[in-house]
């Protein structure tokens, strides 16, 4: 069984923050306030989630689990649009569709085909697996959407040249799509290639700490890594493709009003 951390031990972990805060003060980085606020936000959010998950796990009701998953997806979507510099109002439903489709396909495969828990909506599997996939999708979507639209905005003359040479909208955006996808895929490829050597992944570490056998934890880790990678690629591509009709006008010009 896992060694339990009491409240005092948890609180003692905050002492570590004094080191980065000291460095920020010394280097005049101006990040002290942000660091304290981020730590407070993290604590409050995790405590609330912990309390909520306790009941979600106790209830283990398919509908409640789905509602929780939907909330996670909406939150991820809001964060993606906020950080990618695009207007939420214009893209909300399209990027939500991209995130939902990619997450559900991949997590569905993992839960229903590979693990097959009983019941299939078991919160112990559904919530953390979808959460991990979603968290990684969120990061990659921010990168891909930001790179894609800022790439076209910065190279508008180049983009118009492609259109003038006879490219359709999809052909003209293809070079920026490739750059955007590579920018979000490359870090994951590097992380996959060095997994186990450079880093011990979080899910595996968590399972081992929770008492699972290392080989069992590794099987889950392989599964989740493949899920994360696949859903990231699907979500990045689907989000960009679904956003095109909103982002360009009838003359295939990028609309300036899509940016925050």
């Amino acid at each position: 069984m896992m060694v339990e951390m009491d409240i005092l031990s948890t609180v003692s972990m905050y002492a570590l923050l004094l080191i980065p805060i000291g460095i920020f003060i010394w280097l005049q980085l101006g990040l002290v306030k942000e660091t304290i606020l981020a730590a407070i936000r993290m604590t409050v959010q995790l405590v609330l989630v912990g309390l909520y998950l306790k009941y979600v796990f106790q209830l283990n009701n398919g509908f409640v689990n789905l509602v929780w998953v939907a909330v996670m997806m909406v939150a991820a979507n809001v964060s993606v649009l906020g950080k990618s510099g695009l207007k939420r109002k214009l893209f909300f439903w399209r990027t939500l569709a991209g995130i939902t489709v990619s997450t559900l396909i991949v997590s569905g495969w993992f839960i229903l085909v590979a693990i097959r828990p009983d019941p299939f909506y078991d919160a112990r599997y559904m919530v953390p697996i979808i959460g991990m996939i979603l968290g990684n999708c969120q990061r990659s979507n921010v990168l891909s959407l930001e790179r894609f639209y800022s790439g076209i905005r910065k190279n508008e003359h180049e983009f118009m040249t492609y259109l003038m040479l006879g490219a359709t909208l999809k052909e003209a955006v293809a070079p920026y799509l490739r750059i955007a996808l590579k920018s979000c895929i490359n870090p994951s490829l590097a992380s996959m290639a060095t997994m186990g050597i450079v880093s011990l992944p979080g899910m595996m570490t968590g399972q081992i700490l929770g008492g699972a056998m290392p080989m069992e934890a590794i099987k889950y880790q392989i599964g989740i890594m493949l899920c994360i990678f696949t859903s990231m690629v699907i979500a990045a591509l689907v989000n960009i493709l679904l956003s095109l009709p909103v982002a360009f006008d009838d003359y295939q010009r990028l609309k300036p009003e899509i940016f925050q």
């Binding site: 003359h157 180049e158 118009m160 040249t161 492609y162 259109l163 003038m164 040479l165 006879g166 490219a167 359709t168 052909e171 070079p175 006008d249 009838d250 003359y251 295939q252 010009r253």
Partner: protein, 213 residues
Amino acid sequence: MIAFNNITIRVHKQPLLTDVDLHVQGGEKVVIRGPSGCGKSSLLKCAVGALPLTGGSVQFSGLTLSEKTVREVRSRIAFIGQEPVLGAENVRDALLLPFSYKAHRHTRPGDAHIFQTLENLKLNASILDQSTNRISGGEKQRIAIARALLLNKTVFFADEITSALDPESKQAVMDELFRPGITLLSVSHDPDWIQACNRIVEINEQQLIEVHP
């Protein structure tokens, strides 16, 4: 051939052209001149739907520029800017870029056609294997023109395209673009270019004024 009717252009709420007309017949060579920022380039860009028109309409051989016709209009015009975009890592790929698009896939030129076009523009065939990052501004400009010629376009919009060219290259470019079958609407400050055009139009206080050469 090309008719600009009652054109008004505002960029960032700044009026550049107000209610102007310009009609270009097939085969004519027209140059627009005027001070920097007066709207010369914007007029060319509006005509191909790269910038929005504030008012008026543009027609190409009876086809009115609209969201439905914009692709057709663009396919008829070769637009070459002051800073050409090659869009590929080496010159051969840059020349063949438009032929990778659905619209031109079936008209991919053969090597002989490419070599002849390069030679006409005083470019050596060995440039085909060079990186587009390593060629000069003048060479880039001529590659962009060669690409348009390979597409068999006969209407050219040229925005200050001779600024990076030496006299010999400039003459080669002019020999190609001032052929009888080509309609040329251009922006230039180059005296030789202006002299070779049969119509000169000046932008003055948001109006187009025909100047007799």
